[in-house]
Subunit: 178 residues, 2 copies
DNA sequence: TCCTGCTTTCAAAACGTTCTGAACGCAAAG
DNA sequence: CTTTGCGTTCAGAACGTTTTGAAAGCAGGA
């Protein structure tokens, strides 16, 4: 293969590895995704293991992860007993998968926990000594800021996922600490 | 201290640890940030080590990281020789720090590398065999999609950092593969 | 200048994560 | 029914990262 093609292949694969790390996936997952993305033909586990010089076991596990995340899909090739994979090449689809399953959970969980904290603090109100009461008030301020942040994240997330045409930044920045 | 206050303290600190991991920092950094955030008074290294039950060495290193990221600042307490830290409580400030130093670099680097790849492919054009030429074309398509993604990220990033009042989502989604 | 008390540094250890390769399971073909 | 060629699993190895604790560094006060 021409040097330049090979070079582009290498740098794309390692770039995808980097991107994967950045998003909290394993580097190998990203590299596998990259390798599949740059192949016009679906690739078998052996192909992938050979191209990335890693064990078949690792390829098997990581490709199943990619599949679960909707970043690669199995492809049947007639007359073949091997499993073939191709990468999901629609970036928006991939992003949406990740955002909607992982990030959304994370944000919602955070908001729940923060809400519980606010409840606990308010509920404790009458039983507190004066100093404790002051501290509780301080906590409420800090937690309010955290809530504002996560509410912003939630709205931004839902907006992207909802595919809305316009993100109303004014409305978002109006979420205030109370 | 009242049970509820203690409970809120614990869950906030561990939540901050989780958030830190999510953003690619170490968990301890997040916990330290959380502990400082919930203290009306600045805390010394010893205070922090004791509250989080970790070694002083670790506290020292992690607090310096927090300082570098603009997430905590040193505070001089008169008559004291200890170092005291308080957390930066303006979330937007923190987010902006992280986005502008780390994420921006990442995105710009990716765009540079992708640009170089496109150049390499175009430059190789004439020297390629028919099959290679087909492959090069395929690469260009895939890389174009990646560029679109990173360009979107770049615009979104600069918009948030620029503090613009309105994020023009129409303009952003018009970035197309060419 | 010499203590004293605190911070910083760093090598070693602990820990968690990821990878490997052999063993196993399964299904299609003969 | 047996063989063959895959994919999957998992215990152990390899690896990288984080923590610790002791030693060194540093600054202020006597």
């Amino acid at each position: 293969m021409h040097d330049n093609l090979a070079a582009v292949n290498r740098s794309t694969i390692s770039g995808m590895g980097r991107l994967a790390r950045f998003f909290g996936f394993s580097e190998v997952m990203g590299r596998l995704y990259g390798a599949a993305l740059l192949s016009p033909e679906p690739l078998s586990l052996d192909d992938l293991a050979q191209r990335l010089q890693i064990s078949k076991g690792s390829v098997s596990m990581n490709m199943r992860s990619l599949e679960r995340w909707g970043m690669a899909t199995e492809v049947w090739v007639r007359g073949e007993r091997k499993k073939y994979y191709k990468a999901e090449s629609d970036m928006w689809q991939v992003i949406r998968n990740v955002l909607s399953s992982r990030e959304r959970r994370e944000v919602n969980l955070a908001l729940e926990v923060l809400g519980e904290s606010v409840e606990k603090l308010q509920q404790a109100g009458s039983e507190l000594s004066p100093e404790e009461r002051e501290l509780a008030h301080y906590y409420l301020e800090r937690i309010g800021e955290l809530q504002a942040f996560f509410q912003f994240a939630q709205i931004a997330l839902e907006t992207v996922l909802g595919g809305a045409e316009t993100l109303d930044f004014d409305a978002i920045t109006k979420i205030e600490i109370r």
